[in-house]
């Protein structure tokens, strides 16, 4: 299968007062045309920085490695090319949707903008914008077309941001926590619309979210990040049914389920995500892990097996069981 997006050995360094800090450390990622991939991991694991690096939105960071969209290299590409890619080929929903709207421009104008830039005529752009907003569950979309962002509730603004990202029919949508401000019924509506659009137009989606319930229903493939590295990836059924990395298993176990009569304590992962400046040697997860071998403390585990659909970066999962010492 030819990939739409291919990220190879992505590294992102930020300059901080105490020196350069590597926030993303050798990430590989692919998205095929029309594919829906979820990027998950705890807060601070580097999901948003990855999305921004793909789109060339980190002017102050040092980004190395390769990001190819249909073969075209984006790392180091000119601003003109990057702007073109962002306008036409990749739609983006920022994690903080409320700050990405222009407060002094009407909602309608902002949703039409990507079409107008492409030369679509105004009346046509307006029709399509209203239609899309209505499909996203914005009530009275036509009447509210000339409202300003502050007149919309948080949930409505979030849907506007999604509309702006998909109206020009990009090949890839990168959506960073697109439904967090929505209540469950609106969330379900927005997700099924994204489903529909993705299918209709063969739009690929890279979905970044904390919500493993959403991942289960939306994604075909899941990439799990920890401390700036990928620790496991695989088809959605594999990840939910046969996760191999202790971190992935810990995340899944910590989620309360609505279909279970479970009271009492939830299993938790002890400790917290290290800051990029204090990433432990070896496997970054080892201080929080309950079954480690010596190698965990000294060698960064590789994602294995290399060519397999389900890959894991864990010494214990990929080595002999008898070497395991319980800590």
């Amino acid at each position: 299968m030819t990939e739409l997006l291919t990220v190879r050995d992505l590294r992102v360094d930020f300059d901080t007062p105490s020196g350069p800090v590597r926030v993303i450390d050798g990430l590989d990622l692919t998205v095929a045309p029309g594919e829906r991939v979820a990027l998950v991991g705890e807060s601070g694991s580097g999901k948003s920085v990855t999305a921004q690096a793909i789109l060339g939105l980190l002017p102050t960071a040092r980004v190395t490695g390769s990001v190819r969209l249909d073969g075209q290299e984006l790392v180091g590409a000119s601003r003109r090319i990057l702007r073109q890619v962002r306008g036409n080929r990749i739609g983006l929903v920022f994690q903080d949707p409320l700050s990405s709207l222009n407060p002094v421009m009407t909602i309608g104008r902002q949703v039409m903008e990507p079409l107008l830039i492409r030369g679509v005529r105004r009346a046509e752009a307006r029709r399509r914008a209203i239609d899309l907003l209505a499909r996203l569950g914005v009530r009275d979309a036509a009447r509210r077309f000339d409202d300003y962002p502050h007149q919309f509730s948080g949930g409505m603004r979030q849907r506007v941001v999604i509309a702006i990202a998909v109206i020009a029919e990009p090949d890839l949508l990168i959506a960073d926590e697109p439904t967090t401000a929505l209540d469950v019924r609106i969330q379900a509506q927005v997700l099924s619309l994204l489903d529909e659009i993705a299918a209709e137009r063969r739009m690929a989606v890279l979905l970044i979210t904390h919500d493993l319930g959403i991942v289960a229903g939306f994604a075909q493939r899941v990439v799990v990040m920890y401390a700036g590295r990928e620790v496991e990836q695989g088809p959605v059924d594999e990840i939910f049914g046969r996760a191999r990395h202790p971190y992935t298993r810990g995340l899944l176990a910590a989620v309360p389920r609505i279909d279970e009569r479970h009271q009492g304590r939830l299993p938790t992962i002890g400790g917290q995500v290290p800051t990029p400046a204090q990433r432990p040697d070896g496997c970054a997860f080892h201080p929080r892990c309950s079954s480690t071998v010596d190698a965990c403390r000294s060698e960064v585990p590789l994602l294995l097996p290399r060519a397999a659909a389900h890959r894991v970066a864990c010494h214990v999962a990929t080595r002999h069981a008898e070497q395991v010492t319980e800590v």
Binding site: R36, E42, S43, S153, G154, G155, L182, D183, V184, R185, I186, Q187, A188, S192, D195, H210, D211, L212, G213, I214, V215, A216, G217, Q220, P235, V236, D237, F240, G241, G250, L251, L252, A254, V255, P256, R257, I258, D259, E260, R261, H262, Q263, G264, R265, L266, P267, T268, I269, Q272, V273
Partner: protein
């Protein structure tokens, strides 16, 4: 044993010059037993936070009755009100803005004790602060650190430690885990569970995540448009919802199981 009784609570807000006020809480009634955790769910804007704030006397209600432990809350004033305020503490969604960035967390946690004159003397305050921090899973080394050096989940636990400093009878939590990721959320939910077991704390728990509510709460009230449309014990409500609105809410909750999700949403994958 009933700890809290809310009867016919009504609250409206003015909408501006010459337009009539809009009523956002329209006669809400419920009770909470001692040691019970009641979940309050419902769509955005349904009046959950407003109800909670009226109960806690952070907002004046238009009418209705709130009785905590036999004492009238809405009509209280002076000493009576001060003592009621001590017995009802709130925890909010945002652990970042609810702590003073310039106060070491040990002081933040014991400040309410100082304010209410319950503990005096630096050493005694520090001892109590440490007890409270330990209760929420933090340690002595954390006492003198500032909020910014804590993770979101730790900050929320610090906010909870502060809220329980006065040994309140009722804890009102407005979306206390909504801004936390799953692993940290699990830590905080476990903390609520333990506090109820150990201190017999009674909790009114507002959340939009219905799975979280099922996990933690004994009973659940569903609000819509300023009214409670259904209230029942958790298993009854989740297994046999009677109100159409409750059913539609439950049907929209994603389940972290790909096969079931695909079946439920009728989408094909692969």
């Amino acid at each position: 044993m009933t700890l809290l009784r809310v009867e016919n609570l009504v609250k409206s807000f003015p909408t501006g010059y010459r337009s009539p006020p809009v009523t956002v809480v329209k006669g809400v009634s419920f009770t909470l037993d001692r040691g019970e955790i009641l979940g309050l769910v419902g769509e955005s804007g349904s009046g959950k936070s407003t109800t909670a704030r009226c109960v806690a006397r952070l907002l004046p209600a238009d009418s209705g009755r709130v009785v905590l432990d036999g004492r009238d809350v809405l009509g209280a004033s002076g000493r009576e009100l001060r003592s009621l305020r001590r017995d009802m503490q709130m925890v909010f969604q945002d652990p970042y803005s609810s702590l003073n960035p310039r106060m070491p967390v040990g002081e933040a946690v014991s400040e309410p004790l100082l304010v209410h004159g319950l503990v005096t003397g630096r050493a005694a305050l520090r001892r109590r602060a440490l007890e409270l921090l330990r209760m929420v899973g933090l340690e002595e080394e954390h006492l003198d650190r500032y909020p910014r050096s804590f993770s979101g989940g730790q900050r929320q636990r610090i906010a909870i430690a502060r809220a329980i400093a006065l040994e309140p009878k009722l804890l009102i939590c407005d979306e206390p885990v909504s801004s936390l990721d799953v692993s940290v959320q699990a830590q905080v939910l476990n903390l609520f569970h333990d506090l109820r077991e150990r201190l017999g704390l009674t909790i009114l728990f507002i959340a939009h995540d219905l799975a979280v509510v099922r996990h933690l709460c004994d009973r659940v009230a569903v609000m819509r448009g300023g009214e409670i449309v259904e209230i029942a014990d958790s298993d009854t409500l989740y297994d046999n919802p009677t109100h159409e609105y409750t059913r539609s809410l439950l049907a929209a909750v994603p389940i972290p199981d790909p096969r079931r999700e695909r079946a439920r949403r009728g989408v094909g994958t692969g």
